[in-house]
Amino acid sequence: MSVDEKTVRRIATLARIGLSEAEVPALAKELNAIIGFVEQLSEVDTTGVQPFTSPVENKMRRREDVVSDGGYAQDVLANAPEKDDEYFAVPKVVD
């Protein structure tokens, strides 16, 4: 499978990474090399093999359903690029 320039633009949009047109050809080449490398996996017979999602087979731990943390909005907002009262501020989303 090869990654063409159209696909590079589509992935960049999905990943929300702005790309200039000048960056696209080099990136297509690099992604193709990486995808070409990982294609080796198709040689492996994985029929019936369960996907391995975590080295730790922990059950999710339960805790009391109570408020255990919070109440410090200003700490949470301290690193915000832009804020307004107790809210993060972003460019207008709805016209």
């Binding site: 590079v8 490398f37 080796q40 996996l41 492996v44 369960q50 690029p81 972003v90």
Partner: protein
Amino acid sequence: MSKLTDLNLAQARDGLASKAFSATELTQAHIERVEASDKLNAYVLKTPEKAMDMAKASDAKLADGTAGPLEGLPIGVKDLFCTQGIRTTASSKILGEFIPPYESTVTQNLWNDGAVLLGKLNNDEFAMGSSNETSCFGPVNNPYQGANGENLVPGGSSGGSSAAVAARLGVAATATDTGGSIRQPAAFTGTVGLKPTYGRCSRWGVVAFASSLDQAGPITQTVRDAAIMLGSMASFDSRDTTSVERDVPNYEAALTGDIKGLRVGIPKEYRVDTMPSEIEALWQQGIDWLRDAGAEIVDVSLPHTKYALPAYYIIAPAEASSNLARYDGVRYGARQAGVDIDDMYANTRAAGFGDEVKRRVMVGTYALSAGYYDAYYVKALQVRRLIAQDFNQAYEKCDVLLTPTTPSAAFAVGKKVEDPLEMYLNDVFTVTVNLAGLPGLSVPAGLDANGLPLGLQLIGRAFGEEQLLRVGEVLETAAGFTTRPKEWWSA
């Protein structure tokens, strides 16, 4: 007495206990050495005032008998660990001047035990790299230089940590390992690097790269120091759902020097065609050392080894593309303006991420996208299980595995930066361990023809750190690695 900065962690600890010097003196000596180390670029943030405050508090505790296991010992912290009130960047422009309002569990454990913070250490951006060249703060230089005085990489992603320990800019350093990022830099700098079992050290407050692979561990001068550091770094933490509820043993007590009857497995698949003869020779030397110490050498097979790097380069980017979605310029970090919110996201991420991070986020996005998810991502997870099963089968015949840590010694800055795939091959011997969630230890074992350090890797069973460290110390003693780099950087 030798200089205070010549001491390893255990020696410094014992010197403090016997009152041969104070924590303030020890810390001051290290601060001065760190100040004179800018040519290495190991520290991205120095915290001398904080260090002196902590050292004074340690001296009070040492005096009144309430000292912790690491009381008064000055260390460096990889800039991937959140430190409360102290800038944490993951060496990425996108985090800007982020000041964490909380402390990572691992570093909190270290402070609770008395350690002193000298500063934050350079690393590859978001820990993505094998040479510390993807950092937004620029590359770290290996304290060891090439035959013609050229600058070499210290390995990565924990290159600041490995360089700092090799140059004695702290008695030890914290690091993290997702595909080899503790062990490969340790091998490149003549230091000891321990990647613990997945789940042994909490990931809470450590900037996430690939969550099913990331694990924190120490880089130190000696195996004993690694045992001491792990004893403090490891804990059960309910804030990390993959943290394992298990007591932390006394790792230092496990260093008995006795490995008689231990079965050491030699995986034949690690004998790759391109391996330089001096690495092959060092590996054989390691086998002989362990046999001479009473171990039994067993040939084993890990048949899916060849597929570990390809699986890793699906799984790690996939997890990274998800983890790094949070850097959108809304809640923290450096925002770039845009005509609307989507444009703001795209501009923020275009300006904030470096080339390697962009590549990996895009590979991960591709592997997880509609139509490719089963062919790439699920396939890689299936291969990951086969790799883990390879280890389980090998451990029916042996107790620990011995391999080289890396396929070469440290290379020149700039040499591999243009070829991502060649860079990835650095992790060929280390990445299997992360995929299986096992502990791995790199021990400095020899020098190449140019006088550069080479490491041997020991791989243990899950939660087999005591045995791993015991064998590691035997290997370390046999190798007798005492080389120190020439101090060109302080001139």
